[in-house]
Symmetry: C2
Subunit: 133 residues, 2 copies
DNA sequence: CGGCATCCTCGACGATACTG
DNA sequence: CAGTATCGTCGAGGATGCCG
């Protein structure tokens, strides 16, 4: 989770301006857990503990941190029910759901080329030294 | 740059299977410099030094490392001209150009919501403790 | 020109324990 | 239940220098 981002992209059509804008988007979801949380929260309100169960492998700490960042970026809304025991629900904003839609294109790319990439890697590792020897 | 990826996504329509597939795609371009290099190399062959100039802020080391990874994934082709002084050219593969197309959706998302995110952050930082205070 | 080797920093992330 | 606090690890990435 990037602490702050001193990442003002200059507008324009140059290569690196484009690259910066792309990274600007990627930085919102670049963390290890952001996507998993976002997807889990995009179908409806989800409670903290429910997220902890559904996002497999996440620690309590990282869940909290990632939630805070997503909330800060306006991708999640946090709603506290003043009950006892406490009940907190997180919901993805429309902006976050749009983001996921945009990521679908990327997902399809990965599926289309999964095989090719795997082959390319094997070939590369054969030609150059393979990592394990 | 992820050293290896023990990241076999299980197929399926569960939240976390989807999340894994998305991350699979993100991992190809998640590095700090991948996008910049890919874009610069997608219009035609580019030489090492030219990349070093065009991808602003990159170090020689990271340029080399990122190039190797992109080549390994089959996103770049490396062509060595056996001349002296040496001349090496990198070209984005069709697969990489497709990837860029997929990233456009993400770019547009970033542009659409840049303002909203910035505002959300400011609001969040005001309400909770701002980083510098 | 186009690298690779070495050293270092620093932030993402994990483990564990405590709390209103 | 839903966190916070503290400590430790690990690897991405930066700085610098040498080489065919």
């Amino acid at each position: 989770m990037r602490e702050e981002q001193a990442n003002r992209c200059v507008a324009g059509a140059t290569d690196q301006a484009r690259a910066c804008t792309v990274r600007e988007a990627l930085d919102r979801v670049g963390g290890k857990w952001s996507i998993g949380i976002l997807i889990a929260a995009s179908t409806g309100p989800v409670r903290f503990t429910e997220l902890e169960r559904r996002v497999e492998g996440i620690s309590r700490r990282m869940l909290t941190l990632t939630l805070r960042n997503l909330e800060r970026d306006g991708l999640l809304v946090r709603h506290v029910h003043p009950t006892v025991p406490p009940k907190v629900e997180y919901t993805a904003t429309p902006m976050a759901r749009e983001l996921y839609e945009s990521l679908v294109a990327l997902t399809r790319w990965a599926e289309r080329h999964r095989e090719a990439i795997s082959t390319a890697r094997a070939a590369y590792d054969r030609q150059h030294g393979t990592p394990a020897g």
